[in-house]
Amino acid sequence: MSEPLLSLSGVSRHFGALKAVDAVDLGIPAGSRHALIGPNGAGKSTLFKLITGAMPVSSGTVALGGSDITGLSENQRARRGISQTLQHSSLFLTQTVLQNVLLAAQRHHPGRRSLVPRRQAAARERARALLADVGLEQRSDTPVAALSHGERRQVEVAVALACEPRLLLLDEPAAGMSPAESARLVGLLQALPESVTVVIVEHDLDVVFALATSVTVLHLGRVLLTGSPDQVRTSDAVQEAYLGTGRESLFLDGTGPAHLEVS
């Protein structure tokens, strides 16, 4: 395995007594398509926030491309090539679709420090190309506030890609999309170049298994399993984490694997 692009070692985040993320070790090789799954409350979104820097870690280190970025702020990490879409659309509602994407694109194309209006041809062209990729070229002059939920998700993806990321974190990008839209999204993500490493949190397992080359299952803040999609599909522990251990565990003492995870 090559040098991991993103490596987490012993990353934890505690809220009081609750260990939302508990000593997670994870190495994600450059160019991989890695899925992060787990039941609700497994700590997936929190882990994302720790990676992007939106939330400080309680302990542990986060490294990107071999250098420690644990102490960097969110915007510094973003400038090093981490980009994300959030679980709940977070866009600039008063502005048009194109302006939203431009805000991300202008950072990465020359001319952004200018105090004077400019054509920004490079950024504009990139933004339009991205909108065509996500299927919104007809809507570029529509205010984001007037878009449907699914369309906003598509804008999110375009904005995240406009940051020209090395590491792209997608938090439930397909949530609320129609089947056609999410098929398009999968196609778009599959077409991304090797230089972009993708980590995706998704409940739609069709999307996960269509995309991912490796899968990590989180449960109660801990890594339950990391492996190929097939290993994960057949794992008993994963079945149990998702479906529960059966009612007997409510009455019987410490037998199932779920107990091992909790303790």
Partner: protein, 343 residues
């Protein structure tokens, strides 16, 4: 003025943008024409009106520039300030002192006033911009009051509560501008430059970054922007243009009082911005016109009940025009663009 249209092709309403260039050129001319007519009208005004009216118009222009500089903070960046008059006042005192002790030759006092406003805003903004919401309001209010107190106490420099008087009239090429009409042209020229400057800032990539921060600061951070830096620069720029307006004010009325730096002035100008429609840049110009007219022109005819009338106007405006005067125009375009479009 023909500098402006060059940049009207920029994003704002990317509507005509997509079409091929000949149409764009014509759209440009169409958009530039009303501006040109407006400019000619404004320039022709002193040929037809009495000196007192010219003087009132000059004051309106100055307060309009002041209001638009505040709009850069309130409407574009989303930072409502209650101490913006501090930088206006610092500019006014600077221009006054420069005129008294050194020279009142045309651009020197106003340029130094703008510089002083920007430096003062940079010094205080460093602190204020770190906070947000109510805390930002309180901090700017405190800073405004601090400057007000300084203006009161430093009697040796500012003349204390008597005000700084005896400011010589502005000179252009050695000739003093004493006629109201000539003074009006001077104010018009500088104020227009100020408007153009603020418009350019608001419509630059920097300006769209500010709007992004206003709409969704956490998201801007995750895109790799440092909101603090942008807000700080915006604060300094707004202070600079407020200083410029203050410099013009000192040249026009030739006396500067501590109240020009205080809370009352800050509140009035914030009122002008809200009345006109924050975030539009041109709305606050109308707001400033209404505030100046009500306070200075109609106020004296009401036995000093000008502020009362202003209060009534404000309450009515908030109920009838929640987005200010600019909201009226917005209503018209929205209806044209999308029948039954989303709110």
């Amino acid at each position: 003025m023909s500098v402006v249209p060059d940049s009207t092709t920029e994003p704002a309403a990317a509507g005509p943008e997509v079409r091929p260039s000949p149409t764009r050129g014509r759209g440009l001319a169409l958009r530039a024409a009303p501006l040109l007519v407006l400019f000619l009208l404004l320039a022709a005004v002193p040929l037809f009106v009495a000196p007192f009216t010219a003087n009132t118009l000059s004051r309106i222009l100055i307060f309009a520039l002041f209001a638009v500089s505040l709009d850069l903070l309130v409407g574009i960046t989303g930072l409502p300030s209650l101490g913006h008059a501090a930088y206006f006042g610092i500019g006014a005192y600077t221009a006054g002192l420069v005129s008294i002790h050194w020279t009142s030759e045309a651009p020197v006092p106003v340029l130094l006033a703008a510089a002083a406003g920007a430096v003062a805003a940079a010094a205080t903004g460093w602190l204020a911009v770190r906070s947000g919401g109510v805390y930002f309001l309180m901090l700017t209010l405190a800073m405004g009051e601090l400057v007000h107190q300084l203006a009161q106490r430093l009697t040796g420099v500012t003349g204390g509560s008597n005000g700084l008087f005896g400011i010589p009239s502005v000179r252009v090429g050695g000739e003093p501008l004493t006629l109201a009409g000539l003074l009006y042209w001077y104010v018009l020229a500088i104020a227009l430059l100020g408007f153009v400057g603020l418009w350019l800032v608001a419509h630059s990539p920097f300006g769209s970054t500010l709007k992004g921060i206003r709409d969704n600061e956490p998201r801007m951070r995750s895109l790799g922007y440092s909101p603090f830096r942008y807000k700080f620069v915006a604060f300094a720029i707004a202070g600079g243009f407020a200083g410029l307006a203050g410099g013009l004010f000192a040249g026009l009325v030739r006396i500067v009082n501590p109240t020009d730096t205080g809370f009352t002035t800050s509140a009035l100008i914030l009122l002008a911005v809200v009345l006109g429609g924050a975030g539009t840049l041109w709305g606050p110009v109308l707001g400033a016109a209404v505030v100046v007219l009500v306070r200075d022109t109609f106020g004296p005819q009401l036995d000093g009940h000008g502020p009362l009338l202003l209060g009534v106007v404000f309450v009515v405006a908030v109920y009838v025009l929640p987005r200010g005067f600019a909201g009226l125009a917005g209503l018209a375009t929205r209806r044209r663009r999308a029948p039954g479009g989303a709110a």
